[in-house]
């Protein structure tokens, strides 16, 4: 399939990348890197991880560029790779961290953080961190980054209705997690 697009459009730039124009590759990167990094950083919460996941995203995207069919916007296609890379990377690291914590301290991270900064905001952030990957992705994208459920559906390859349901459940989990501090919460 040949990608065609108006001069200067993502599709036109992709077509140049596919014929081996290195400047076009850089151009594509420059167009999208800030958005990808922002989204990844929101999910990862760590500069080093965000950098690693963003790099992985672009390496994969350039590898698979020939398979981009242009059915969705390039930004959506790239975003779905970024989310997949981030969720997988975070899951792998969580397993490793959990093992290291088991071996070294046997003390849950949340307890340590809680004792350091026991305010409601910190509790909310910890509750968001503790959400399952899919729920957290929907919550961060919708509530913090302002994506619509249709956009999230395209990014996560789920139905917009599923995105709504996951957001509902994510919010319910936050309420439960913050429940013991409801007095502060309602101030």
């Amino acid at each position: 399939m040949t990608l065609r697009g108006a001069p200067g459009s993502d599709r036109a730039v992709i077509a140049r990348v596919l014929v081996g124009d290195p400047a076009a590759e850089r151009e594509l990167y420059e167009r999208h890197v800030d958005r990808v990094y922002r989204m990844v950083y929101r999910m990862a919460g760590d500069a080093e991880l965000a950098r690693e996941f963003t790099q992985d995203t672009f390496v994969r995207a350039f590898d698979r560029l020939a398979t981009f069919r242009g059915e969705a916007a390039f930004s959506t296609w790239l975003g779905s790779i970024a989310i997949s890379v981030t969720l997988t990377g975070l899951r792998q690291r969580k397993r490793r961290w959990d093992r290291e914590i088991d071996l070294e301290t046997a003390e849950p991270v949340t307890v340590r953080r809680e004792s350091l900064e026991p305010d409601l905001r910190r509790r909310l952030f910890e509750a968001i961190d503790a959400l399952p990957g899919g729920y957290r992705a929907v919550l961060v994208l919708h509530e913090l980054e302002g994506y619509t459920h249709e956009e999230i559906g395209a990014l996560l390859d789920i139905d917009p209705g599923t995105s709504k349901a996951q957001l509902f459940r994510a919010r319910a989990k936050l309420r439960t997690a913050l429940g013991p501090h409801a007095r502060d919460w309602h101030r």
Partner: protein, 218 residues
């Protein structure tokens, strides 16, 4: 209208939860280019290469594990051996190989040789006594490889595929026998093997040369 307090909290979180710093564009671009450079030096990382090699490599890995397990489980047993023959590793005949890749054809040949050795041993054992469950355990491993080969779209030779389908049935029966081996059930399987001429057809599908040479066993 009452505002949901959670909305208020999330509004506040918008600017405070993992607020992204500016992206380190140049450093990331340099890292991406470096990784691309590394990958260009690795021909097996080229698109499509892994897909082409996946089946032969997977089957070869399974065969290697199978041989290892076979050695462990059959240690001390007298395994049936072919007569001495040439020491060069045979290959599937050209007409049988068709457009199958050489790696896959080699894996298929190794598997057929190994299955022939196993079924010959099973036949001898079943004629003499109730087969030993340790011997029967080999059927499950061979069955797995048979299915893997049948699932491989690159194995296009229909004669080999038909033979593998028949072996799948026989090996499944032998594998089931492992749970509760009886002489009667073993006899039935042997009778079916003989009536359908599975072993002679298996032997004719393998060019001259002992299975031992193919597997690297001495």
């Amino acid at each position: 209208m009452n505002e949901d307090p959670l909305d208020r909290l999330l509004d506040q979180a918008r600017d405070q939860y993992n607020p992204p710093p500016s992206s380190p564009r140049e450093a990331m671009w340099a890292a991406i280019q470096a990784r691309k450079g590394e990958r260009q030096g690795m021909p097996w990382r080229q698109p499509g290469t892994i897909r082409k090699l996946a089946w032969p490599l997977g089957i070869a890995a399974l065969l290697a594990v199978g041989f290892g397990l076979g050695r462990l489980t059959q240690e001390g047993q007298v395994a049936p051996r072919h007569a001495l023959g040439p020491t060069t590793a045979p290959t599937l005949p050209n007409e049988a190989q068709g457009s199958t890749s050489p790696a896959l054809a080699g894996a298929a040949l190794q598997h057929l040789s190994r299955t022939e050795t196993f079924l010959t041993g099973f036949r001898l054992e079943a004629q003499a006594r109730v087969p030993d469950p340790a011997l029967l355990a080999g059927a499950r491993d061979l069955l797995g490889t048979t299915r893997l080969l049948l699932d491989s779209p690159d194995l296009q030779d229909q004669r080999v595929r038909q033979l593998l389908r028949e072996l799948e049935v026989v090996l499944a029966q032998v594998a089931q026998l492992q749970a509760e081996p009886t002489r009667e059930d073993a006899d039935l399987i042997v009778r079916e093997l003989d009536e359908q001429g599975v072993l002679p057809r298996l032997r004719t599908s393998i060019p001259a040369g002992p299975a031992a040479n193919i597997s690297g066993e001495s």
